[in-house]
């Protein structure tokens, strides 16, 4: 069952993730965040790198990114550290973009996307070594 909150999230962010990623949009993101990953929030590249350090991410580690949007920072962390990543979010458009980017980054064999609300995750206990999210549970 989809709650009203999930429906609104899917609508709001789905539309946003579907917007054209023009050169100017990439330029703005690069100037603000330091990246070109479709970020519209507040987590900078330096902060994403800090997450990798604090979570001791590396090859063989299993990371869950809740509210992953277009793959920031979970997909970035998989590409940077060699860990496996499961990206989880409600808007499908963001997950589609993330999986396309996983191909580009040549990490598709280590990245999975799951369309799910964080309130009802379809994972068994102890499925992950690390869990990350950025400004989702405020």
């Amino acid at each position: 069952m989809v709650t009203r909150e999930e429906h609104e999230t899917r609508q709001k962010f789905g539309d946003r993730y579907a917007e054209d990623r023009t050169d100017v949009v990439r330029q703005i993101e690069r100037a603000v965040i330091g990246s070109e990953w479709g970020v519209n929030g507040y987590t900078t590249v330096r902060q994403a790198d800090l997450l990798a350090e604090l979570l001791h991410l590396g090859p063989g580690m299993r990371l869950l990114d809740l509210g992953s949007g277009c793959g920031w920072p979970g997909l970035y962390l998989a590409a940077r550290t060699g860990c496996q990543a499961v990206l989880s979010d409600v808007p499908l458009e963001g997950l589609r973009r993330a999986l396309a980017r996983a191909d580009t980054e040549q990490v598709a064999d280590r990245v999975t996307a799951v369309a799910s609300s964080a309130r009802a995750l379809p994972f068994q206990t102890a499925s992950f070594d690390a869990v990350v999210h950025t400004d989702m549970l405020c």
Partner: protein, 123 residues
């Protein structure tokens, strides 16, 4: 390693606010600013250990300001892309949040915690 680790950034009302300030923090913050208890306490209740919290509010304000300024700089392009109404809505929302940060109502924190191996879970 313990049963697993979590690290996350979260935007939340500053501690010690009056009821009216707290209402403004909830109103002016991102839509998901909804927690009514400190995150450290929520993590403790959920069985996490080794909880640490770092205040990132200064960088939060810098980034919020940068989104506004860079978007203003590329006003014409963004209006062509998303329309004037959506452009103005986003800028208004960003300015409201920035004012709430500058007024000491909103903070952004990095929390880290570990899960003891015997109780490791993802839910």
């Amino acid at each position: 390693m313990a049963g697993g680790r979590t690290a996350f950034f979260t935007i939340h009302p500053a501690p010690g606010l009056s009821p009216s300030q707290r209402r403004r923090a909830h109103r002016d913050g991102p839509v998901a600013v909804a927690a009514h208890r400190p995150h450290r306490e929520l993590l403790e209740r959920a069985g996490f250990i080794d909880i640490d919290e770092i205040d990132c509010t200064a960088e939060f304000a810098t980034i919020a300001r940068a989104w506004i300024e860079r978007s203003e700089h590329h006003h014409d392009h963004l209006v062509d892309l998303i329309g004037i109404a959506e452009y103005e809505r986003r800028q208004r929302e960003r300015r409201t949040q920035l004012h709430a940060i500058e007024d000491g109502l909103l903070r952004r924190s990095l929390l880290t915690a570990a899960r003891p191996k015997s109780t490791a879970t993802t839910d």
